[in-house]
């Protein structure tokens, strides 16, 4: 027994070093999105006088729950953020918003509100509370800022649904998630086309990998990435488990 323990410890050290290299590589690859979001949140939250990147929370901790309920609440949380964002975009249009842009952004707002309310209804008394968004980092008067944030939210939404699909146990919920994720991908493409019309950006090499795959990101990384946009503290350790 002693000998076993010893050999386990010995190999454990080496193993730890090796897997940490592997994990770092994987993390850098899969967290490209999280990193870019995180950078923007931190950059926006900082000013010259205050290097502290922390954004004050409401003090509320919201646990998404476990199993399929956890996945649905996770989707509900993200849809809440998106719905709140586009509601603000339409309530305070950026300077120079064209009619065509307003039509598109209003459509997207409506889709996100429908997604949000659908999840709320589907979850019933298992639904998490209404979250308190924090969009202080977004200048809603500027087209670039608004469309840039929209792009991040939509790409994040796609990656989140893609990463959560395999956690869903119920066939009906899996199909529902599928019905929604492609609409989020349509949003992402259209927003990207507004930013860079007629370019390759609608499905750009920054987001689609060399196998022609969109991103799939695990809940923990998505929650870390959107943290700066919510005042509440969201915990999703048991989503899908």
């Amino acid at each position: 027994m002693n000998r076993l323990m010893k050999s386990k410890n010995n190999s454990g050290k080496e193993e730890g070093e090796i897997t940490s290299v592997v994990n770092r590589r994987l993390f850098l690859r899969s967290a490209g999105l999280a990193t870019s979001l995180g950078t923007i949140v931190i950059a926006a939250a900082c000013n010259d006088d205050d290097p502290d990147p922390m954004i004050p929370g409401t003090g509320d901790t919201v646990d998404l729950g476990s199993g399929d309920v956890g996945v649905l609440n996770y989707a509900y949380a993200l849809e809440q953020l998106e719905a709140a964002f586009y509601t603000q975009v339409i309530a305070t249009p950026y300077s120079g918003m064209t009619d065509a842009e307003k039509t598109i952004l209003t459509d997207i707002r409506d889709h996100e509100i429908i997604h949000r309310d659908f999840f709320k209804a589907a979850l019933g008394d298992k639904a998490i509370k209404g979250l308190t968004p924090n969009f202080a980092a977004i200048d809603f008067t500027k087209r670039d800022a608004v469309l840039g944030a929209a792009k991040l939210f939509e790409d994040t939404g796609v990656a989140a649904y893609n990463g959560a699909g395999k956690l869903i146990k119920d066939d009906g919920y899996l199909v529902l998630a599928g019905k929604i994720v492609s609409v989020e991908a349509r949003h992402a493409a259209v927003i990207r086309d507004l930013i860079n019309p007629k370019s390759v950006d609608f499905a750009g090499d920054d987001i689609i990998n060399g196998d022609g795959f969109d991103k799939a990101v695990a809940p923990a990384d998505i929650l870390a990435a959107v943290k700066g946009y919510v005042k509440d503290t969201i915990t999703g350790a048991n989503v899908g488990k």
């Binding site: 592997v22 459509d107 796609v158 066939d171 599928g178 991908a185 349509r186 499905a203 022609g212 969109d214």
Partner: protein
Amino acid sequence: MDIFKIIDDFQRIDGDAAGRLEYATRRHFMSKIGSKLATVAVPTVFASIVNKAFAQSATAIEVLNYALTLEYLEDEFYKAGNAAANLIPASDKAIFAQIGKHETQHVAFLVKALGAKAIKKPTFDFQYGGAFGDVFTNYKTFVTVSSALEDTGVRAYKGQATALKADPQILEYALQVHSVEARHAAVVRRLAATVTANPAMKGWITGKEGAVPAIYAGEENMTQGGVNLKGLASKSDAAVTEAFDEPLTKAAVLAIAGPFIKA
């Protein structure tokens, strides 16, 4: 032997490869790195990863070959369209080059994943038995067929999600391709709105709006999770149908795609 290069390569085709490695080989493999046993162990371990990732069930193979059929179709369609002189206006060339690139990548991935089990590329008839006779000479027809293919692709992948539940990693790949097809569909629908002067064609599908009725049948569905969403959040019926894309069964997709396939 560069173990990290190999892991990286696998990571590119199998997002969870290292997770599997870590799990399957924690005791038997990692501790032996650096020893002469590593060179023997490596191929065995990777073979088992490949099997786990790509050959877990007959259903998965069937689904991947079904996907491959559609990707072959799309790939060849864009290869022909992108190569045709005076078809795609200069302003739109970048879009179709990017879409074509992805379809080629999807074919390559699926062929690699299926290995010897991959089906052969069929022979296609993009004129659809004469219905789209000018598909490679008339941009309007080309854009119409492109939007039809992309929206079909979205519905087809979506329809297979539950069949892949037993193979979570393959399900994830399918989802990652599915959303790319949706990005394609959105941008091509917007082109179609201009080219065919039909403003009802938006990036998302309103009701069952699209040029080929069979492809959009059922997209006007208002019921989700067994609940009629009419009036949800005081939004219009149009918005409710736009907010959800609908799946298509394999039979329906093959009925739509059938006339494109000669043999």
